[in-house]
C-alpha cells in the first residue's frame, strides 16, 4: 500500500525532534542544516510548521532532472533520488515550489526526504503525533473527518 507523510501544524509544538532525528538518520550527526525536514517557527505568534518533501505526483524536480536521478517510484508513490546519478546541477532545488529540495555545501549532495525507506525517523521521534505516516487513503480521511466534525458542531449549535 502507498503511504504518505501528513503534517498536523496544530499539533506541532516546535520542539524540532523531527529535525534532530532526520539529521541523525541521514548524516549520523546533529547537523540540522542537513535535515530533510525543517520546522519554521514564528516567535511572536508562537506557531510552527514542519516542512518536508511532499513526494509530488507531477514532481517538478523529476521533470527538470536531466540525468533522471530524481524519479517517481510508482510502486511506493514516492520521488526517489539516486545519488549515484546526480550531477549536482541543482535544478531540482530551483524547481521545487516548496523549497523542499536543498543543496548541502558540506557534503555536496542534494538533500531531500526519502521517508527513511518507509519508516520515517521524524515520525518515530515526534512526541505529539504532529507528523503521521499513513496509508494515503486514510490520511485524507483524517482531515475530512476533522473538518466534518467542525461542520457537525456548527449545525448542532445553530
Amino acid at each position: 500500500m502507498s503511504m504518505m507523510l501528513i503534517i498536523h501544524p496544530d499539533k506541532c509544538t516546535g520542539c524540532r525532534n523531527c529535525e534532530l532525528a532526520c539529521a541523525m538518520e541521514h548524516e549520523g550527526q546533529f547537523r540540522l542544516k542537513a535535515s530533510r525536514i525543517h520546522v519554521y517557527g514564528w516567535e511572536r505568534e508562537g506557531f510552527s510548521v514542519p516542512m518536508m518533501c511532499q513526494q509530488c505526483n507531477e514532481a517538478p524536480c523529476t521533470t527538470v532532472c536531466i540525468p533522471k536521478a530524481m524519479q517517481r517510484n510508482r510502486a511506493t508513490g514516492q520521488v526517489d533520488l539516486d545519488a549515484a546519478k546526480c550531477i549536482g546541477c541543482k535544478m531540482c532545488v530551483q524547481a521545487c515550489p516548496f523549497g523542499n529540495a536543498a543543496w548541502d555545501f558540506a557534503t555536496e549532495a542534494i538533500l531531500k526526504c526519502d521517508t527513511c525507506n518507509g519508516d520515517p525517523a521524524c515520525v518515530r521521534f515526534c512526541p505529539n503525533a504532529a507528523l503521521e505516516w499513513v496509508a494515503d487513503t486514510v490520511s485524507a480521511q483524517v482531515r475530512k473527518r476533522a473538518f466534518a466534525g467542525k461542520l457537525k458542531q456548527a449545525f448542532l449549535e445553530a
Binding site: 496544530d10 509544538t13 516546535g14 520542539c15 524540532r16 525532534n17 534532530l20 532525528a21 539529521a23 541523525m24 548524516e27 549520523g28 550527526q29 546533529f30 547537523r31 540540522l32 542544516k33 517557527g41 516567535e43 511572536r44 505568534e45 508562537g46 506557531f47 510552527s48 558540506a106 521521534f125 512526541p127 505529539n128
Partner: protein, 595 residues
C-alpha cells in the same frame, strides 16, 4: 570531542579582542558544562569579591554536552556570572533554541569580559564573529529588539538580549532569548547591561556529534515515553501546581502572610487552559511543551505572548492577592518585554503591597501608585514602571530586599540571600526551607525541590524534618549535574542513571549514575566556595523571620513554621562541612577541589 564542541569564544568588550580557545577536556569531564563549567571558569578567572556590575565581572553563556542533541529537553544553556542581586555565583538557565544554535556555530561557550564604551551586540555566524553597534536598539523592548535583529542579521538567527530593565541595571533584570524564554534569575540582565551588551545573535550550520549513535538513540527511545509522562504539565503548563499547592495550604499568598488563596481556581493552570491558552509550545528537543502561548483581548490588559507559568502565576496572582488571570498574564508579558525576572518582580510588588498595607510606605513614596493587595491595575503599572525605570519603579527595580530595607523593614522581604523565593511555602513543606536557605544562588526552587516527594507523590511527610537533609543534598547534587548537561529540570525525575547513560553515549566519557552525581556534588561545593570567598557565611543560610517564627494562620497547614534549625546542622554534617558551613579539606580532596 563528542557532545562538547571543544571550543569557547572569549570576547573582550573593552578592547574588542575576540579569541577562540580550546576546551580543557579534563575540566569538561569533571564539571560537565553549562552551570558546572561556567562556575569553574568564574572561580578561576574572577575574584568573587568584585562589584558584580563592574567591568571586572565576567558574563558567561555556557551550553552543556547534551545541548543540541535529541536527549529529551537538551536545548538549554546557563548564564554564569556574579549576581548583583545576591552577591553569590549566578547560574540562570534558559531553554528555547539559542543554546543549541551556539553549538551549531561551533562553540560550547561565550565569555564576555570588560565593558563596551557604547551599546553593542555580538553577531556570530559560524566562525565569523563581529561586535556591532547597538545604539539603534538601546531602549527597545525585547520583542522589538529581537525582530530588528532578525531583520539585520538573518531571519533564522537566534537572539538573546536584554530589555530596558537590563539597560537600567535593574537588579532583577533577565536575559531573554528567542523572545519569550528567560535566563531569569539573579539579575544576570543587569550584568549584561553593565557591559553595554544589548544582544548576542547566533546562527550556526555545524554539527553536534555523538560517540555512540546506536546506543544514544536507544537511550532516547527509552527516555522519551518517560519524559512524556509529565502529561499534566503538557496539558496545563506548570501552573497545574496552583491547585495542589493551594489544597495543602502551601501557596504563598499576600506576601506570604497566608498560604491559601481564595481565588486560586481563577488563576489555575486549568482555568488558563480553558480561557487564554492558544496552544502549547516546546523548547528545543522537549516532548513536554509546558510553554503557554496565550492572548489577552480585554483592552485594559491586551497583549500576546507566553505564560504565565507557575511561578509567574503565583507571584502576580496569590502573592499580590490578584485573582484576575488576565492581569496576571499581562504582568508576565510586561516582564518578558522589559526583560525582568517574573518571580522577583511579582514578589517585589507583593512586598511593596505589604509595606503599603502596614503604612511603611505611602502614596507619596509610591508617587501615587495605590499598591493595595488585590489592586490588579496598580500591579501591572508597577511592572511597567519597573521595566522602564520610572517613578516608584526606580525603587522596585532593586528587588524586594533592598526595597524593604530602604524603608527599614527588610524582614518583609520574602527572600533568601536577597533573592525572592518561589511558590512553595516552606512552613507547609519543610524540605523546601532547607532548599531555599542553602541554595547557592539565594531563594530558588530549582536548587533542590522536595515538593514532588512531599506533596505531589506524598512519599515523605511534608510536615516532618527527619530525612530531609539527606534528601535535599541528593537533589541538589543531581540538579547541579543535570543543569550542567544542558537538559531541563522537568526531566530531573528520570534520574541520574539515565542521564549518566546519556552522558556516556554522547561524550564517550564513562559516567555512571554515581560519577554523574559526584560531578554534581563537586559543582555544588565549588559554588559554595565562590560564595564563601565573596563574603557570605553560614549566617546567610537562613529564611525570612516570618517563615521561622510566624505560624501559618489558617488552613490545612495552620500552626506550622519552618523548623530549619532541626535540619541545617545535619545538612552541614552530611555535606562534609564544618558547623561553620565551610567544606572540610577532606571533603574538598574527595571532590578533587583541593590537592
Amino acid at each position: 570531542m563528542h557532545g562538547w564542541m571543544g571550543k569557547r569564544l572569549r570576547v573582550n568588550l573593552t578592547d574588542g579582542r575576540i579569541t577562540t580557545e580550546a576546551l580543557d577536556p579534563a575540566l569538561a569531564r569533571d564539571y560537565i558544562g553549562a552551570r558546572g563549567l561556567g562556575t569553574r571558569w568564574m572561580y578561576d578567572e574572577v575574584d568573587p569579591r568584585v562589584d558584580a556590575l563592574s567591568p571586572e565581572n565576567k558574563l558567561m553563556f555556557v551550553t552543556g554536552p547534551l545541548t543540541g542533541t535529541l536527549a529529551p529537553t537538551a536545548g538549554r544553556y546557563d548564564v554564569v556570572t556574579k549576581s548583583p542581586l545576591t552577591g553569590t555565583i549566578a547560574a540562570s538557565n534558559s531553554g528555547g533554541n539559542w543554546g543549541p544554535e551556539l553549538k551549531f556555530a561551533g562553540y560550547d561557550a561565550l565569555i564576555f569580559e570588560g565593558k563596551a564604551a557604547a551599546p553593542v551586540y555580538l553577531w556570530i555566524e559560524d566562525d565569523k564573529v563581529e561586535i556591532r553597534d547597538a545604539a539603534h536598539l538601546w531602549g527597545k523592548q525585547v520583542p522589538e529588539t529581537t525582530e530588528a535583529l532578525y531583520a539585520e542579521t538573518r531571519a533564522d538567527a537566534r537572539v538573546a538580549c536584554i530589555g530596558p530593565a537590563g539597560e537600567n541595571l535593574s537588579l532583577i533584570a533577565a536575559i531573554m532569548n528567542d523572545m519569550h524564554r528567560a535566563a531569569g534569575r539573579s539579575g544576570v540582565g543587569a550584568v549584561m547591561g553593565s557591559k553595554n551588551l544589548k544582544a548576542v545573535v547566533v546562527r550556526g550550520t555545524g554539527a553536534v556529534t555523538v560517540a555512540d549513535k546506536a546506543g544514544f538513540l536507544d537511550t532516547v527511545a527509552r527516555a522519551l515515553p518517560l519524559a512524556k509522562k509529565a502529561r499534566i504539565t503538557s496539558r496545563y503548563g506548570t501552573a497545574a501546581n496552583i491547585n495542589p499547592m493551594n489544597a495543602i495550604g502551601g501557596l504563598p499568598t499576600a506576601n506570604w502572610q497566608e498560604s491559601q488563596f481564595a481565588g486560586a481556581e481563577k488563576v489555575s493552570g486549568e482555568t488558563l487552559a480553558e480561557t487564554l491558552l492558544l496552544r502549547s509550545k516546546a523548547c528545543f528537543a522537549c516532548p513536554i511543551a509546558c510553554g503557554r502561548v496565550t492572548r489577552v483581548n480585554t483592552p485594559k490588559y491586551r497583549g500576546e505572548g507566553e505564560g504565565p507559568e507557575y511561578e509567574t502565576d503565583f507571584a502576580f496572582g496569590p502573592d499580590c492577592l490578584v485573582d484576575d488571570l488576565e492581569a496576571v498574564t499581562k504582568a508576565g508579558y510586561l516582564c518578558n518585554e522589559m526583560g525582568l525576572d517574573t518571580i522577583s518582580m511579582g514578589s517585589t510588588v507583593a512586598c511593596a503591597m505589604e509595606l503599603f498595607q502596614r503604612g511603611y510606605i505611602t502614596l507619596e513614596d509610591t508617587e501615587g501608585l495605590r499598591l493595595e493587595f488585590g489592586n490588579a491595575e496598580a500591579m501591572v503599572e508597577a511592572v511597567r514602571l519597573t521595566g522602564l525605570g520610572e517613578g516608584f519603579g526606580k525603587k522596585l527595580q532593586l528587588g524586594s530586599w533592598r526595597l524593604a530595607d530602604l524603608y527599614g523593614h527588610a524582614e518583609l522581604s520574602m527572600t533568601s540571600k536577597k533573592q525572592e523565593m518561589a511558590a512553595y511555602d516552606p512552613r507547609a513543606t519543610q524540605g523546601m526551607g532547607l532548599c531555599y536557605s542553602t541554595s547557592n544562588r539565594g531563594g530558588c526552587h530549582v536548587r533542590g525541590f522536595t515538593v514532588g516527594a512531599e506533596v505531589f507523590m506524598a512519599a515523605m511527610d511534608r510536615k516532618a524534618t527527619e530525612g530531609k537533609a539527606a534528601f535535599v543534598i541528593g537533589q541538589q547534587n543531581r540538579q547541579a549535574a543535570l543543569d550542567s548537561t544542558g537538559c531541563c529540570n522537568m526531566v530531573g525525575g528520570l534520574g541520574p542513571d539515565l542521564y549518566g547513560e546519556f552522558m556516556t553515549r554522547v561524550t564517550g566519557v564513562a559516567y555512571d549514575g554515581a560519577a554523574y552525581s559526584k560531578a554534581g556534588e563537586r559543582i555544588w561545593n565549588l559554588e559554595r566556595l565562590f560564595n564563601l570567598k565573596s563574603g557570605l557565611t553560614a549566617a546567610d543560610d537562613t529564611l525570612p523571620p516570618r517563615l521561622l517564627h510566624d505560624p501559618i494562620p489558617s488552613g490545612p497547614s495552620k500552626g506550622l513554621v519552618n523548623r530549619l534549625p532541626e535540619m541545617l546542622p545535619e545538612y552541614y554534617s552530611l555535606r562534609g562541612w564544618g558547623a561553620d558551613g565551610v567544606p572540610t579539606q577532606e571533603k574538598l580532596r574527595d571532590l578533587a577541589l583541593a590537592p
